[in-house]
């Protein structure tokens, strides 16, 4: 019996440091391990003893790619603990800021990280030599997302305007209206993006995912709503830890989440789309149809099209929010004193999937305990399954080709290893 091992020592075009090891015996994959060697940073430990209002700015530093997601999950969890509601225009402004992050992050992944895989280039710089129009369009689209975050948050990475209870400063109506032309151009760019991604060459495979995302009637999910799954789960966010658990495996500096009694599951664009495609904005819906997407998409390679559709949604939603904007009298709602122990939890939709925070507060308002479950640790186990199936289908390939395919299978899910405290290195062993 022949033995094979495939190693990818350092997975490129992902955020953070990770590796993959696959051990093959005959025609069976004995083991597929997504290794996370990003060094641990201990956020949950040093959050203890910090003030509740410090959590949004501190947890933003977990990830430079999706800081708004961390700020939003932290704020909603703290507000749940305090029994504070942030509604109306303040809620809309939060969605607007989040849309900026989705536009930026999705354009980054589509053009700079993912597209080179389909067109046979090692990176977008070399892709730009032969396809300058596409890469320039991608950078211009990405910039609109960054500019929207800068408008609302002061800067695109680790914005400074978010607080528990709302914002430090609410923009004026004129400031937001002035941004409308940029968004209109972005909408056109995003439509071209979907048409471009729909022409790519996709392997014909479907995975049997259990999809998990947030769902709230009347809107495509960003913040608030129930946690739902394609296997019929529907729970309030506060019950997340009753249904999902994290397991610490020896080869990773990250914790892997599983749905109790069900197993690995997937969060992110494919999951949100499958569970919420009925709630897309009009143009996003018509472009999904034009691009050939059904109500559910199970081919992980085609997530590049779904990211394009979600980008259109984020732009249409931004335009809608701006058109209905009236400046709130106060930029935030007041917070009550914490006089007894309190617990609050919340999940919001980071570009790469659902991000859960839970805090226990002590009397006086200091954090006693914190739990953070990032999207990539939820997807990690399911990504290993994707790789296992891929390798079993592709045994005839030589090492170089197989290694390349494995990396692509991982990149389909836009993993953020800094979030999950990991980085990718691929190893395949055959026996």
């Amino acid at each position: 019996m022949t033995e094979r091992t495939v190693h990818v020592d350092y997975i490129s075009r992902v955020e953070g440091e990770g590796a993959l090891k696959v051990r093959i015996a005959g025609d069976k994959v004995e083991e597929a391990q997504l290794k996370i060697f990003e060094p641990p940073r201990f956020f949950e430990a040093f959050l203890r003893g910090r003030g509740l209002t410090e959590a949004p700015d501190i947890t933003a530093r977990i990830c430079g790619i999706c800081p708004v997601a961390y700020q939003m999950s932290a704020c909603h969890a703290m507000e749940a603990a305090l029994g504070v509601k942030v509604e109306g225009q303040l809620r809309a402004l939060r969605r607007l800021l989040y849309c900026g992050e989705w536009i930026e992050s999705h354009a980054l992944h589509i053009y700079l990280l993912h597209a080179p895989d389909f067109l046979g280039y090692p990176d977008a710089i070399r892709l730009a030599k032969d396809h300058p129009q596409e890469v320039k369009l991608g950078l211009a689209l990405k910039k609109v997302g960054n500019d929207l975050m800068t408008l609302l948050g002061g800067r695109e990475i680790h914005p400074v305007n978010v607080r528990v209870g709302g914002f430090y400063r609410a923009p004026t109506v004129d400031e937001l209206r002035a941004f409308r032309p940029q968004l209109e151009r972005a909408l056109e760019m995003a439509e071209r993006t979907v048409r471009f991604t729909a022409t790519l060459d996709f392997p014909h495979i479907e995975e049997d995912y259990e999809f998990v995302s947030i769902r709230r009637e009347g809107e495509y999910p960003l913040t608030q709503g129930d946690i739902v799954s394609s296997k019929g789960l529907k729970i309030p966010q506060a019950e997340f830890e009753h249904h999902f658990e994290e397991v610490h495996v020896p080869y990773a500096n990250a914790l892997q989440a599983v749905h109790k009694g069900s197993g690995p599951y997937l969060v992110g664009p494919l999951a949100r789309y499958a569970l919420n495609s009925d709630q897309l904005t009009p143009k996003a819906r018509s472009m999904a149809k034009e691009a050939g997407l059904g109500p559910v998409e199970r081919n992980p390679y085609r997530s590049i099209i779904v990211r394009g559709i979600e980008t259109i949604f984020a732009i249409e939603e931004s335009l809608r929010i701006i058109d209905h904007y009236e400046r709130p009298a106060e930029p935030s709602v007041p917070l009550p004193e914490v006089t007894q122990p309190r617990r609050g939890a919340a999940a919001t939709e980071a570009p790469r999937g659902m991000l859960y925070h839970r805090y226990d507060l002590l009397p006086g308002g200091l954090i006693g305990d914190a739990r953070i479950v990032p999207p990539t640790s939820q997807n990690q186990k399911r990504i290993e399954e994707d790789v296992r199936h891929l390798v079993e289908r592709s045994l005839v390939l030589d090492e170089a080709a197989l290694t390349d395919r494995c990396e692509r299978a991982i990149r389909n899910h836009d993993p953020c290893i800094s979030c999950a405290t990991h980085f990718l290195k691929v190893t395949v062993e055959r026996s």
């Binding site: 990176d123 070399r126 695109e156």
Partner: protein, 262 residues
Amino acid sequence: MAAPSKPRLAVFKFASCDGCQLSVLDCEDELLAVAGAVDIANFMEASSAVVDGPYDLTLVEGSVTTPEDARRIREVRAQSRVLVTIGACATSGGIQALRNFADVEEYRSVVYAHPEYLSTLATSTGIAEHVPVDFELRGCPISKYQLLEVVSAFLDRRTPNVSTDSVCIECKRRGNVCVLVAHGTPCLGPVTQAGCGAIRPAYRRGCYGCFGPQPTPNSTSLTAKLEEVGMAPEVVKRFYRTFNANAPAFRQAGEAAAAEAK
């Protein structure tokens, strides 16, 4: 005669959030021009094509937190003609340097079920504590304009023009009202190096020191002012201890406030 080859650029990551290297990709208007002026030889977040060193310009993001990384940074230094650190993690150890004030063994057991699977050092330290560094770019995150200035200066073989003024100077230039004096809002601007564009005061909140201490900070005076506007010493300690907690001036100011809190 053969055309001179382009300088080779490398980007390496240590413990960090990836935000500072993302700043390279966030230079949307300049990225393709920069890529035309240098040969991107090693940048794992952006490319699968890796060329071995030596490199002419190396950007290092992140802090040293594991025995392996303490070894790896020496290797990176040996391959680099010019080494520039980008961001608070690489310069002072970053937010993960909060472990330097705590018990790491206990930290491990709080976050991970099997602490024995992890390999970690008791401290998070900046790159210059391990190898010589040619230039340190501040910020959590860095300013992409300062990054472009450093890369351009390197290409032109001149010293980067990066101000070491305090945030106060930037606030004055921007025309911000002083939030500390006018509103009593706690602000680290007087002791923090400029570079962010004084964005926080523009959003009506105080500076939280993400560019680290400026060269001659008078933190004793600032601490007295912070207490005067109503901050308890324990809160002052936390105020200094965020993204640059381990930078010497902020570390000392934090320790002084901690001693007072006791």
